[in-house]
């Protein structure tokens, strides 16, 4: 069963189409990385899943049921843009209010547990408005985790988190998906962080899903290449172009040869032609580059 | 101008007895892009708010461009984006920027607003109400607001928050441009060290309200240990050949590591002469992120 199944979802704000015919399939237990430019419709989609705004058309099914189903909705944890907390109440009271809202029986123990998870147990008595950005973000994550949600919707949760915060975040997300069968929908622009945990990806542009794939598929579709550097780059490039078909120079000052797996052959070839490489490496295109390429392709 | 853009000595600030800043020192030269790094709650935002005059220090000295931080002439030239762009949600982006342009007493208000909107690629959304903006768009508006009126000092707190890849690239380009060409100074705090590393010329690392290290990007590079790792089909003979020529050679994780050799071509040359074609050779450096984590864990142990 899929945790989220969206078909032909649409949302118009006045005459502006924020989401147009979006399809999305998130399997149970996945960490679904939701990627797209600013204003591409990520937050709008997430808000519709959480029932904060009403779709103009299309269907959203969560765990096989309609998204308005009360049972499913009580199992959603969310953090969209920033935690909605009462400014003048303490962190603890804010958490207790959400625990009451969810009808959690052992509220105090549960609140203490999630606060400990995000290392905020020492700041429980602080007023929310006195917390720093990173602390607020941690509180937001803790609030989303209350009541063992089956579906977590996180919009830019890494915002303002320090290195330690990001590590905790990764650990928590991996743990709840592996051990509690929770499903996570997470959007972020920090693709290198996302790459470390995501099992599935969805790439959105202009309100449409332009690509959905698993991490394994992404890995398979990313081309391998050999990157190298030498003292005389122009000569090196000429030499390589005469022998290999896909040679490119990157902005960082490396020459890349795509779809080739014998670097020693390259080293030897260049050496015999009077060029000594200073750096050479076999590598693979990462999520970030894949994404940028995909976006450029679409633009062209 | 020889003064520093920011000079802070012994700055202290407490909130109800809790010390947020405990004798902080900071020196930011004119024209620098100063990367301000620290954990959540270490006092970064507090420092920035103090510089902008949002908070009142308990004690300590703060000078901006050699003048008191209270000098109105200097303060008019400070652009800030702290935590979020403070904008009226019911007013349009254009109106919000217009108010700031009036506040700064700019002459060509409309032209200046169009200019900054164009920089952050928001010129088509000028009429949109601020509350309708997505997180990334709000951030861009905040940056545009900070750039209004050619500031001499930019204070940016987590400006990368919510920006997409394109937004981050624009951000990098602007910051490099204004510091190089207009002599602007930038103080920027971020947790995305990989991004910060691409542009920062100076670093300040803060922990529990104290500056524990200030260094230039060059110093930082030299402090990061460098070694060269080499891989070839026949690792055993590679190791033997290299061990014969260089002093400090180790075989770790399927790579031959050579320390203190900068000229990698020499290594390739040597190995080729011995009939070995390398499959991989690269210089390894500890990045800012690793350097920072190591520094933090070292301090924790101490």
């Amino acid at each position: 069963m899929n945790a989220i199944e969206i078909r032909n979802l649409q949302k118009n704000f006045g005459s502006k189409q924020a989401v147009r015919g979006l399809n999305m399939t998130v399997p149970e237990g996945a960490i679904y990385g939701f990627i797209g430019e600013n204003g591409s419709g990520k937050s709008t989609t997430e808000k519709m899943i959480c029932g904060l705004i009403i779709p103009s058309g299309g269907s959203i099914r969560l765990y096989g049921k309609d998204y308005t189903n009360a049972e499913v909705r009580s199992k959603i944890g969310l953090l969209i843009e920033q935690p909605g907390c009462f400014q003048n109440l303490s962190v603890w009271n804010n958490m207790m209010i959400q625990a009451a809202n969810l009808g959690i029986e052992s509220a105090e123990a549960e609140v203490a547990k999630v606060l400990k998870l995000v290392r905020m147990e020492g700041a429980a008595s602080n007023k929310f408005k006195n917390c720093s950005l990173g602390m607020k973000q941690r509180i937001g994550i803790a609030m989303a985790l209350l009541g063992e949600p089956k579906l977590l919707v996180l919009d830019e949760p890494i915002n303002g988190l320090d290195a330690d915060g990001m590590r905790i975040m990764r650990e928590v997300l991996t743990d709840i998906t592996k051990n509690y069968k929770c499903t996570v929908l997470i959007s972020s622009h920090i693709l290198t962080e996302l790459e470390k945990i995501a099992t599935h990806y969805g790439i959105i542009k202009g309100g449409e899903m332009i690509k959905e794939m698993t991490a394994a598929e992404l890995d398979a579709s990313c081309r391998t290449f050999i990157a190298l550097k030498a003292a005389d780059m122009n000569k090196t490039k000429l030499l390589l172009s005469s022998r290999y078909s896909r040679v490119e120079e990157t902005e960082e000052g490396y020459i890349r040869i795509y779809d080739l797996t014998e670097p020693d052959e390259v080293t030897e070839f260049l050496y015999n032609n009077g060029v000594t490489v200073s750096e050479i490496e076999t590598s693979k295109i990462g999520l970030e580059e894949y994404y940028i390429d995909l976006m450029n392709e679409r633009r062209a | 101008m020889s003064e520093n853009a920011i000079e802070i000595r012994g700055l202290t600030k407490s909130f109800r007895g809790l010390y947020a800043l405990d004798g902080l020192d900071m020196t930011v030269p004119v024209g620098a892009i100063y990367g301000f790094i620290g954990e959540n709650g270490s006092g970064k935002s507090t420092t920035e708010k103090l510089i902008c005059g949002h908070l009142v220090p308990d004690s300590g000295k703060m000078k901006l461009f050699g003048k008191s931080y209270k000098n109105p002439g200097v303060r008019v030239r400070v652009g800030a984006l702290i935590e979020n762009a403070g904008c009226f949600p019911n007013s349009s982006i254009y109106q919000n920027l217009m108010m700031q342009a009036i506040n700064l007493g700019l002459d060509d208000r409309d032209g200046e607003i169009q200019r900054v909107l164009k920089i952050v690629r928001m010129e088509d959304n000028a009429k949109l109400k601020f509350k309708k903006c997505s997180l990334g768009m709000k951030q861009r508006v905040g940056i545009a607001m900070a750039l209004l009126g050619e500031p001499a000092l930019l204070i940016l707190d987590e400006p990368i928050n919510g920006l997409d890849t394109d937004g981050m690239r624009i951000m990098r380009e602007i910051l490099v441009d204004i510091t190089k060409n207009y002599g602007c100074t930038v103080l920027i705090s971020s947790h995305i060290l990989g991004e910060l590393e691409k542009i920062a010329t100076h670093y300040g690392i803060i922990r529990q309200g104290k500056m524990i290290q200030e260094l230039t990007a060059k110093e930082m590079e030299s402090r990061c240990q460098v070694f060269t790792s080499v891989q070839a089909r026949d690792m055993q003979s590679t190791f033997l050949v290299m061990n014969h020529t260089f002093k400090d050679v180790k075989l770790i994780d399927g790579y031959v590591r050579v320390y203190d050799v900068d000229d990698t071509e020499k290594i390739v040359d040597l190995l080729m002469k011995n009939g070995i074609a390398v499959t991989e050779i690269k210089k390894n450096k500890i990045g800012l992120e690793e350097y920072y984590i190591e520094l933090m864990s070292r301090k924790e142990g101490a």
């Binding site: - | 949002h54 109105p72 303060r75 009226f88 217009m98 108010m99 009036i102 700064l104 007493g105 001499a152």
Partner: protein, 275 residues
């Protein structure tokens, strides 16, 4: 380091700084609906009060609240001790709505975080205090005018008595408008003190705006003209039997309090964390 442009700092003078801050506040005032809504409220209220029937007396007869249209603007004589709502409800009500408006206006500054831009670029907090006081006073003066228009319009419609000493009426209206400055400064100061607590700031503005403290004092002291040293006292003093002396008192009281509140507010702002 090589820069194409040398950094120079000019020290902006008092007028330039105030002009910038006033520009922001007036721009916002005219570009948001709140100001116009409050102008409308100020016009509707006197019309509503004037056309209200009145209160029944002991004999069960309905006594009209106002015999004269101009009583909706000001009372006949300065009455600090009030016996019925008719003696209380006049143009002084503008200061109650004005207080609420100033609270909302300043509250939005803090709620949205726009004060960050303002305080980053203005290190002298008196700029902020003065600008808000002036904008608040301007709004209240405008509300006085729409109040007047609303009152006269309703008076003509209901056919109430229109006879009045024109000179005293003019002085009363002018006096009340001048009092706006003092009131606006007071509200600005209150909002600066309670900047973190919007509910408290709006309540305090309302309570003080109603003049309850002065009315309370009058209940003890009687109709003592010494009460004119307070903003509410002088606002009441500007009545239909006022003369030039009343106007002078109004100007003096309003200005003195405006200066006091501005100084207190500026000191508070420069000593405390602002955001």
């Amino acid at each position: 380091m090589t820069h194409t442009r040398e950094l120079t700092f000019e020290n902006p003078g008092f007028y330039k700084r105030l002009k910038g801050m006033l520009g922001v506040d007036f721009y916002r005032l005219f570009h948001t609906p709140m100001y116009y809504i409050f102008l409308a409220i100020a016009a509707i209220i006197p019309a509503m009060v004037l056309s209200m029937g009145g209160q029944p007396n002991a004999q069960g007869e309905v006594v009209k609240l106002y015999e004269n249209t101009w009583n909706i603007i000001a009372a006949d004589t300065p009455l600090y001790v009030i016996k019925n709502i008719g003696e209380y409800a006049n143009m002084n009500m503008v200061f109650i709505f004005g207080g609420i408006m100033v609270s909302i206006f300043i509250g939005h500054d803090y709620k949205s975080g726009y004060v960050k831009q303002l305080f980053t670029t203005h290190s002298l907090k008196s700029d902020y205090m003065m600008s808000k006081s002036i904008v608040g006073a301007f709004s209240m003066m405008c509300m006085c005018l729409t109040y007047l228009a609303g009152g006269v319009f309703a008076g003509v419609l209901t056919g109430a008595d229109m006879s009045v000493n024109a000179g005293s009426l003019l002085i009363a209206i002018l006096g009340k408008m001048i009092m706006s400055l003092g009131w606006a400064s007071l509200y600005t100061m209150l909002n600066v003190i309670f900047r973190r607590y919007f509910g408290v700031s709006i309540t305090s503005s309302f309570v003080i705006g109603t003049g309850i403290p002065v009315i309370g004092a009058a209940a003890v002291l009687g109709n003592n003209s010494a009460l004119n040293i307070f903003l509410y006292g002088s606002s009441v003093n500007a009545c239909l039997s006022s003369n030039i002396g009343t106007l002078v008192t109004c100007i003096a009281v309003s200005c003195v309090w405006a200066v006091v509140y501005n100084i207190v507010g500026s000191v508070i702002l420069s000593r405390c964390d602002v955001y």
